[in-house]
């Protein structure tokens, strides 16, 4: 998929399209509200919650500050365990490395467990272009695959936007002949995907957390597809974002106390698989080869700059769950596989402002994301930092910059402000007389620039002929000396 999609549509067009999908909006709202409510319930019973969050944040910050050291430790341990470690500086290097492995094994059939970084490097396209049979095995991702590789809409529930009728139709087109209910349909998926697991040559996963001291990689799922992908095929490829690392198993415990609670509001997921290395010679199942591809794809640049804290992210989706913008938009309008607050911070860092410079404005800076991030990433501050950097990149000569510069002058000088509002008040007064509500501007004015965007759906009060400062002056109150 790559990082961006639906780019042929403008943001406003994507919003319009999302607004038409009533089901997706309701489903997303219900799911995210549910995750938030469950998280609140679980953590309300745990007085240690705040301390674990703080510890998790400090831990992630510590790892980033010493990322070269801990990665080196991981690489040494993993190699000692028999795993093969590769490096992916960018998406194309990852693609080449993966295809190399396929070639060496004359492999064609691959099963995948859900991995955001695999979408980021567009590995599915690389594999499919090379003629490989790719099966996503997370039920949500499989549903998307059946729908002509539709884009995910949420980090944890990628197919949130799909209703059961759509899914049923997709299943029927793929051989399903049972009833339209989630239980029977899931059973069908279990059977279909099991065939894929058993016949796959290669399994590809992401990595929730790698453990430096043991050279292990961990994959968490509720479904068990992570276990299947890491146990049945003879070759296991791990795509690991280079920052997805903890020093010790004890550190994994700390992260586990915040991760799943933040994602879906349960203490733990059904399965936490830990692959330490390939099977021993006397074992009969498990991969004979484990390949870990450590991926940079822009992360080392982020590490060097003011957005470093974004690399603490553990991909839990808590920020998406609490964001009022995401809540109403759902995932697709963002046009990025990374949505919500973490998405509008991370995406421009990975693809640049030319392609994603508008995303940091898809936010009210309400701060709810920062409030909820289990590793205390100052998300709303990073969003604002992007806006500053975008403005700086545009330069002072741009049309918008000049408008803002002018506004900045009016808003700084009492005399200019007085003049502007002195003109504005009677104009707005006159305009309101043309509407049907006294003292307000209504939808009649929606063609106007700027103001028009407000009055399309909201009434606007009028600039007062007598502002507060005029009242103060008339009543001889306040500081008349200025």
């Amino acid at each position: 998929m790559g990082i961006l999609y639906h780019q042929e549509m403008s943001f406003e067009e994507r919003v319009e399209a999302a607004k038409q999908n009533d089901f997706a909006r309701k489903a997303t709202a219900a799911a995210t509200d549910g995750f938030v409510a469950r998280k609140a319930m679980v953590t309300a019973k745990e007085p240690e919650w705040a301390d674990f969050r703080r510890a998790a944040a400090d831990l992630r910050a510590h790892v980033l500050d010493h990322l070269d050291f801990y990665l080196n430790q991981f690489i040494e341990q993993a190699s000692a365990n028999g795993s093969q470690v590769h490096f992916g500086a960018d998406a194309s290097e990852v693609g080449r490395t993966v295809l190399d492995i396929f070639e060496r094994h004359a492999a064609t059939r691959v099963v995948k467990s859900k991995s955001m970084v695999s979408e980021e490097v567009d590995i599915n396209r690389t594999l499919r272009t090379a003629g490989m049979d790719v099966t996503e095995t997370d039920l949500g991702e499989w549903i998307l695959q059946l729908d002509d590789w539709d884009a995910p809409s949420h980090i944890i529930g990628p197919a949130l936007h799909k209703d059961i009728h759509t899914i049923y139709d997709l299943f029927v087109a793929n051989g399903y002949d049972g009833p339209k209910d989630a239980y029977a349909m899931t059973k069908f998926a279990r059977a279909k995907l099991r065939e894929k697991f058993l016949e796959a040559d290669i399994g590809i996963t992401g990595c929730n957390f790698a453990i430096a001291e043991t050279g292990a990689v961990t994959i968490m799922t509720n479904e068990g597809n992570g276990r299947m992908v890491t146990s049945l095929p003879k070759v296991h490829i791990v795509l690991m974002g280079m920052e997805r690392l903890v020093p010790t198993l004890s550190d994994l415990d700390v992260l586990m106390q915040v991760f799943v609670r933040s994602a879906v509001g349960t203490k733990i997921s059904s399965y936490l698989s830990m692959t330490v290395g390939p099977r021993k010679p006397d074992e009969q199942d498990g991969p004979e080869e484990v390949h870990v591809i450590i991926i940079d794809n822009g992360r080392s640049d982020i590490l060097a700059g003011p957005y470093k804290d974004m690399l603490r992210c553990i991909r839990c989706g808590a920020c998406q769950n609490i964001c009022p913008v995401y809540h109403h938009l759902t995932g697709h309008p963002y046009g990025s596989i990374y949505e919500g607050p973490m998405g509008i911070v991370l995406t421009p860092l990975l693809v640049g402002y030319e392609k994603a410079g508008d995303l940091p404005y898809v936010s009210t800076l309400c701060g709810a994301c920062t409030d909820h991030c289990p590793v205390h990433i100052p998300l709303h501050e990073l969003i604002l930092q992007h806006r500053k950097d975008v403005a700086a990149a545009r330069g002072t000569a741009s049309a918008e910059a000049r408008v803002y510069a002018a506004a900045g002058q009016v808003l700084a000088h009492p005399s200019l402000y007085r003049a502007a509002t002195g003109v504005g008040a009677p104009v707005m007064q006159a305009m309101s007389l043309l509407g049907h509500r006294r003292g307000r501007l209504d939808a009649r004015w929606q063609a106007l620039p700027v103001l028009g965007n407000w009055v399309r759906r909201r009434n606007l009060p009028l600039l007062q002929g007598k502002k507060l400062r005029d009242v103060m002056r008339d009543n001889k109150r306040g500081d008349q000396r200025g």
Partner: protein, 245 residues
Amino acid sequence: MKVHLFSQCMVDMFYPQVGSAAIEVLERLGCEVIVPKNQVCCGQPLINTGYTDAAKAAVKQTIATFEEAEVVVSLSGSCAFAIRDEYQKVLADEPQWLRRAEKVAGRLHEWTAFLVDVLGVTDVGARLPGRLAYHQSCHVTRLLGVREAPLTLLSHVRDLQMVPLQNADRCCGFGGTFAVKKSAVSELIVEDKARAVINSGADILCGADQACLMNIAGMLERMRDQGIYDRDIRVMHIAEVLNSR
């Protein structure tokens, strides 16, 4: 106590009655209130869109207007946050101005927090019969951390019944220029907030930030004009509620 009031440009331009109410409450509590006429705007709309340099003029004007004051009280939570937290980032490259900004930040209070935490008052002697839903503005609640003061003050208003507002601390969708630049999204969020207000059964919507109230009121009124609901819902800044007798 002598108090310098930062009224917020929005209050000055659109809702002077809110400013007057806030002043009366303070005076009744024994404060001498100065409203410096050189204040215009805290510069937040420019800061929050990333035009930090363009914001500097307004930022410096605000600092200059208030830096001689012993006590500065802001009627807006978002302006208070901007002055207290954002100014130092805006002026990071101008050490002299930075010091002046820090001075003002140290003397600045949000209006409800000032009443409760500085004046030590929780009951201002107000009376307002009605059912009130309180919207917890993002800046006041999350960014400034003022969660208790407004509720404490409201709890002592005679004859006033507080009704729960679903998702009270969820953003109203204003977001400064977001409201007009990403209006399609802003509308979705504020519509949801308006529905929550309607469903709460309240006849008064209250908040501590007039920008939020302007936004929600704008949607509530339009929905009433369209016949989506049919009752009076007054939108009042907490200063107006506390000034009711």
